[in-house]
């Protein structure tokens, strides 16, 4: 399934994907652990350049879906196309082209800022010139200039998070997965973080974001709502609200999702 001899990014034929392919195309995707279906037959598309919000309560299957999309785990059945490549069959082809940042701060805490940058730059096989440029950019963006030799364990959450975003994007990915990137962060830092995300989006990077926060959901151009392994609603925030308008009143996204979950729990 996953070969020991994986090839580097320069061995890859330049974008074997058709340029018009969507960033993500998922059909009948399923992942089961024993008799438990973590992801139970979902289908959706994410267009290039979109800010795609992937919502749902804990345990609804969001993280499992992302891990399949990034090629970290193999699906039980169904097809996944990421940037025009079959993610289940050729995860090694998509990895150099995507970025991933998780809810946990997942840089090496016992390495310094500079060492973390150097590690990931090497992993993504950046040239010396690219590395220098990205390093300067990230240090400025994260506000870490002068703190290069500090252990990342000693940084506070907002800095850690911006550094993690920097490392996740230092190889200029076409598609960035963010798994609850702002959980546990104060509203001001969250706001700053979304400014950085918009900047990335403005440069044409497709963003795939999971979140708990409904005010963040409204930042997205399109949403899918997951519950118990299934997608129970999707569309733009406006479409979703319009579809659930009752007697001329458009409820908030939060109300809609609470109603949807309640409906799933007590059918009929």
């Amino acid at each position: 399934m996953i070969s020991f001899g994986r090839r580097g990014r320069h061995d890859v034929a330049p974008s074997s994907a058709s340029p018009g392919a969507p960033a993500v195309r998922v059909q009948d995707l399923r992942k089961t652990y024993g008799s438990f279906a973590a992801v139970d037959g979902i289908s959706f598309d994410v267009a290039r350049g979109e800010v795609f919000g992937f919502l749902g309560p804990n345990g609804s299957g969001k993280t499992t879906t992302i891990r399949m999309l990034t090629g970290s785990i193999a699906p039980t059945s169904g097809t996944i196309e990421v940037l025009g490549v079959d993610a289940a069959r050729q995860p090694q082809l998509i990895k150099p082209r995507i970025g991933y940042m998780s809810q946990k701060f997942s840089l090496f805490e016992d390495l310094t800022v500079a060492e973390n940058l150097r590690f990931y730059s090497g992993v993504y096989d950046l040239t010396g010139e690219e590395f220098t440029r990205q390093r300067e950019y990230i240090l400025d963006m994260a506000g870490l200039r002068g703190r290069e030799n500090e252990l990342t364990a000693n940084l506070s959450t907002g800095w850690k998070q911006r550094l993690a975003l920097g490392t996740a994007t230092m190889h200029s990915p076409e598609l960035l997965f963010l798994d609850e990137p702002t959980s546990g962060v104060d509203p001001v830092a969250r706001h700053q973080f979304w400014d950085l995300l918009y900047e990335l989006s403005g440069r044409g990077v497709t963003l795939f974001v999971t979140t708990h926060y409904m005010e963040e959901a409204t930042n997205c151009s399109r949403l899918a709502f997951m519950y118990a392994g299934r997608v129970i609603a999707d569309g733009s925030p406006r479409e979703i609200r319009a579809a659930h308008a009752v007697a001329g009143r458009t409820p908030s996204l939060e109300d809609i999702f609470i109603d949807l979950v309640a409906g799933q729990r007590n059918p009929g």
């Binding site: 399934m1 994986r6 580097g8 970290s72 090694q92 990895k95 991933y100 090496f108 016992d110």
Partner: protein
Amino acid sequence: MNGKRLRLLIWKEFLQLRRDPLFLRLAMAMPIIQLVLFGYVVAADVTNLKTAVIDLDRTPASRTIAASFAASDYFNIVARPDGEDALRPLLDRNEIALAIVIPAGTQASLERGEVAGIGIVVDGSDSSTASVGTSYASRVIAGYNALPDAGPGAKASVRVVFNQSLRTVNTMIPGLIATIMMISVLAIMSQAVVKERERGTLEQMFTTPISRGEYLVGKVVPYMVLSGVQALFVATIGTLWFRVPFYGSVWVVLTGLLLFMLTNVGMGLLISLVSRTRQQAQQMMMFVMLPTMILSGFIFPIESMPDAIKPFTAAIPMTHALVVMRGAFVKGAGFDALATPLLALAGFAVAIFGLAVVLMRRRLSE
């Protein structure tokens, strides 16, 4: 397998090791503390020594002497070869720890009222067994002399083969090399893998072009290097300070250690697979270490264990590693004499390391 990414992973692992405040002190202190503990004598009781009796006299007197050894709890007569030529192979293969040689003409000498020497040949490579065995044997012969129809003539003359000085340290240090290697690889590596999973850095790395194979090699190599350095340190202190002789072949030692290391790498990976937290990994490690220390013959001679327990000692990889290390250091035993323990180690290495790699790769892609 991409060389650049491997180098990065290994570089990163060493950086992390250096930053671990406890680790460096532990890695340095552990060999020293253990050298002091085990270098300065650990003694144990000895019973049921595997013994060969060579009766060259074949007289009623010689049979009585042999019978008094057979009657003792300390000796278990497992072979009765015809001549002394057969002793060396038996000792080399660890089939006996001690031999009683009753020379031709013993009865005749005793009847003439002369002193008759009874040869006691001991394997000094397990020095505690050897020294205790010798004194027991002398006691048995003294007991024979006290019999009513025997004179005071029989006299034990002891010949020690291998490790003539009977220094415990000569058997402890070669064993210690294997022990420290086991602790380093097993304990420290399983901690490192679990830590990576706990913190989420593992998940992060697998979204990058790093492959499972690269990750595994990048993880294992630093700890193999580390335990190699520690083994070299213990061996150096052992030969220079404790003056442990080295009669064997370096290749035998390296082969044995490499196989034993692979076994432990496999065990370490298996531990990290079943442990969710570092604390659990620690407990699992104790679960593995305790029977290993007790049953492998590192501290307590296997000869003196109850018969019901003995078969289990063969199921412990370290048992075989100790036979190889002690055999090579003290007896100068080569590949042919140590074929059995080396094959056993190879079996463990293939089975445990192979299983670990297969399960690890499956787990990492679930």
